[in-house]
Symmetry: C2
Subunit: 220 residues, 2 copies
DNA sequence: GCAAAAGTGTTAATTGTACACCCATGT
DNA sequence: ACATGGGTGTACAATTAACACTTTTGC
């Protein structure tokens, strides 16, 4: 009788940092990097397990987490080993919200180019997460999950350019966002930067919802 | 030590029949209806298992099958029973390609209203499959998977109306389809119907691909 | 000849796209 | 005063949306 397959819940955390879309990896055994993951407890819903992986292994909370895909194609060479089914979730994190600096934490952000070699399906999982985010960016409000609660329109603009990988005209972008009415000015301004201080906005989930109902969309 | 969870691969087959989007169910134990499903063999990729479910339990082949979602939230009341993780796939079938008529086959199509009560997450799985299809219809060529190799533009038109659940202007629809150039006339005509016979077309996958690359889309 | 379904163009409204300069701050 | 990044409007092109009648067949 074959053993039943081992189940793993894998978390792909994404952020935009330094103008690049990055993935969070964790130092696993020895030298190797890996996506954070865990086996769910027998009575633990998959999604809650994904949240737990993020809390325990990254010491962060994500506001947004969604199931990505289930991978189960890798059959182990050694037939004694049970096959691993990986249920993946992807989460979005504003830049700087995960503390990677502390020595010994063993976690770090990697952009696509700088990514170390990963075992099994993990490179595939990351590729799929990035492509899903790209897809969702234009017809949902996910982009805002990658920003802090208050942000400037310039930040939002850069975010869209980075994820979609193309230039978007600044004026058209701002017109669209304002026309849709999905952000509201907070009244405060960013301080400290080099140039003119930016007005800060917050995302209006209610306004976004009513747009979704109408089928309006922020395609660029 | 808790038992590891049981894995099931579940298939949601969809078709458009009689102006409604329908799901294929199978008579399971006794009176109850259920989605076709099976446990994957230890060395069997999940997708292949889904194909096997369709072949063995429905005696059909589907040209199009895609992973839908993995459900694992239902914790059994009896803690001795292992939890079931359901990896679902959804497939599209042209009307009439599955033979449900033979006595004793125990399979039948159900539209959303006529659906019998189903155990566990199955109603949820079906809802998700329908909504995914709706979402994909506008930016991919999946709609054509629900039609036979040769079809009329009127059939295609009705298909879009049924799945999206709204009227689409006939002339605008036909203009768009012809403008995009994703169908080519076969030269033959439908026979037998009541009114004027319809010209038949086939889907041009090549033309569709080149549109996808440009980001053009058949949104209605 | 009539019912039933297929087929066909034009116009107005909306939406998307291209484009260049001034403004407020830190150094 | 200059370098840096933030902020603003308009005109043209492209796309979408609204709209009614003719054609071909089976009965």
């Amino acid at each position: 009788v074959p053993e039943s397959p081992a189940l793993r819940v894998v978390a792909v955390l994404l952020t935009v940092s330094g103008g690049r879309l990055c993935t969070l990896l964790r130092r696993a055994s020895g030298e190797a990097w890996a996506l954070p993951s865990a086996a769910p407890a027998p009575d633990e819903p998959l999604r809650r397990c994904a949240e737990r992986v993020v809390e325990e292994q990254i010491a962060a909370r994500v506001d947004w987490l969604e199931q990505l895909y289930t991978f189960g194609n890798r059959i182990p060479q050694d037939p004694a080993e049970p096959r691993v089914i990986e249920v993946s979730y992807y989460g979005l994190v504003p830049e700087g919200l995960v503390d990677t600096s502390q020595a010994g934490r063993g976690i770090a952000w990697f952009d696509e180019a700088g990514q170390p070699p990963l075992a099994g399906d993990q490179t595939l999982i990351i590729r799929r997460a990035r492509s899903r985010l790209r897809g969702k960016l234009s017809y949902t409000g996910v982009g805002f999950e990658l920003l802090p609660a208050e942000f400037s329109l310039a930040q939002l603009h850069r975010l869209y350019e980075v994820i979609l990988g193309k230039r978007i005209d600044k004026r058209n972008f701002r017109h669209r966002i304002k026309l849709l009415g999905i952000v509201e000015a907070t009244g405060s301004e960013a301080s400290g930067g080099r140039g003119r201080p930016a007005a800060l906005y917050r995302f209006s989930a209610e306004a976004f919802q009513s747009l979704e109902a109408k089928g309006d969309v922020l395609a660029f």
